[in-house]
Amino acid sequence: MLEVTDLTHVYGRGSGRHLAVDGISLQADQGELVSIVGPSGCGKSTVLRCIAGLLPPARGTITVNGTAVHGTVPDGLAVVFQDYSRSLYPWLSVRDNVALPLRRTRRGRAQRRGDAQQALAAVGLDDTAHRYPWQLSGGMQQRVAIARAIACDPVLLLMDEPFGSVDAQTREDLEDLVLRLRRDRGITILLVTHDIDESVYTGDRVIVLTGAPGRVRADLAVQFPEPRDQITTKELPAFVQLRTEVSRLIRGQQATADR
């Protein structure tokens, strides 16, 4: 479904040259949730921006459903950015924000509105359609951004540190929301995070990146009984073991770098 091979990206040139990502390869199967975790500055967001077609990579290939991506946004893609307050348009109502990308699907106005309303219901925001994003709490705004992303039935959903700006309780709710949407709709999701617990809790696979330049350090399969639960899953020995392993992979590498 998603296939990234030898992705390399360099920012700037000359003395300001900065190798952000160095030869990253990864793939995600249909319906899989792959979380990418790594220390800050490891190029996680760069990987995501290359896949989204926002950034043409210096080297490497990306294919989504067999179609190559190189600086063009692939079909059936949706993105949830970390900064919901800037990515939602403040001059549009919640419903118009969600319906905005639907116009290119050639659905009629009434159907677009209906679909937007359904997507809002799916994230638990039935009654906010006529309000404005800035009238909602941060967690609710991020739900709107998620509704906007799923309204156009994407095949691939990219999430760039989506819960980095909300409080812990809201964060857990939103993680469960994403797991539920994935289960209900079979969307392939790539979730970038710096939170180790989050990467293990949400992922079917966890890809651990090393710090600058970003390289794949490990690709770990995750197997917990479904559906996952914030309390019971997190107290499983397998969870604790895996989060420790990821933590060691990230910290161990930093310790080597510090020495």
């Binding site: 989204a52 077609g53 926002l54 946004v73 893609l77 949706a78 993105v79 950015f81 900064d83 307050s85 800037r86 990515s87 348009y89 403040p90 001059w91 549009l92 905005l100 990308p101 116009r103 290119r104 404005y132 994003p133 800035w134 009238q135 906007r148 156009c152």
Partner: protein, 268 residues
């Protein structure tokens, strides 16, 4: 004190200052009996006599009012209208292209630095005396704040908002109407406010130099025949018009940019 009474107090306070100022002027003018500084009561009576004592069928407007105030307002409306119709689209086009705005930057700053007042003669030569010259002059003078502010607004659209438009593959038309234009609005209105107050100045300047009607013409005429009360009536009228037009614009802005104030208040 609750919010409503605080608001009323502020409102009262503002008008009290104005009333006190007018009263002081009245007392001073009554005491001095200066021919050049008539008392507000005389100015008010003159304004009423000149413009608002007409027949009821004309909303009490006199021929002098319909013959001078309306043409002036029409010129301001036409001039500003042209400035907006040309300046806003042009500003968006220039602002969205880094290359074009780079090339045009020196020219724009040159253009907007020239005080339009210095250009009356040029406009008389170009357009001959008459409405067309006055409208063109107001349009030229007021386009710069609109243009410069719109360029700035269009250039500084949030990159994340632009990326959002890209990943959700909005069409070019949608990007323009749903992203660029609304995002530019706050800066555009900032420019329009400056242009509006400028337009009254330019209107008077244009009418002083060779018009056969208008508020500027009226003031000029009265001053040539030493009718100081009439001069003052014109001046006060300009003040009232400026205040009213600005209040009307603020009302429109308040409505159009409701989202802007809301988003600002909650994020700052």
């Amino acid at each position: 004190m609750n919010l409503a009474t605080a608001k009323t107090t502020r409102w009262l306070g503002r008008w009290l200052v104005l009333a006190a100022g007018t009263l002081a002027w009245q007392v001073w003018a009554d005491w001095r009996h200066s021919a050049f500084f008539p008392p507000p009561s005389a100015i008010g009576a003159q304004m009423y006599h000149l413009w608002f004592s007409g027949p009821a069928s004309y909303l009490s407007l006199t021929p002098s009012a319909t013959g001078n105030i309306l043409p002036s307002l029409a010129r301001v409306a036409a001039g500003l209208g042209i400035a907006v119709a040309v300046g806003a689209p042009l500003g968006i086009a220039i602002g969205r292209s880094a290359a074009v705005s780079g090339y045009l930057d020196p020219l724009l700053h040159f253009g907007r630095s020239i005080p339009a007042v210095a250009l009356v003669t040029v406009f008389i030569v170009l357009f001959k005396l008459g409405d067309q010259m006055e409208v063109a002059y107001i349009a030229f003078g007021t386009i710069w704040p609109i243009l410069v502010n719109t360029i700035d607004g269009a250039r500084t659209v949030d990159p994340l908002q632009v990326e959002t438009a890209r990943v959700f593959r909005l069409s070019a038309g949608q990007r323009l109407t749903k992203l660029i234009v609304p995002a530019t609005m706050p800066k555009f209105f900032a420019g329009l406010r400056i242009s509006l107050s400028l337009s009254l100045v330019l209107m008077v300047v244009a009418e002083l130099t060779g018009s056969t009607d208008g508020i500027g013409y009226l003031i000029n005429n009265a001053s040539n025949s030493y009718e100081m009360t009439e001069v003052w009536a014109g001046i006060v009228l300009l003040g009232i018009l400026g205040y009213g037009l600005n209040a009307a614009l603020l009302g429109v802005e308040h409505h159009v940019l409701a989202w802007h104030r809301g988003a600002r208040r909650l994020t700052n």
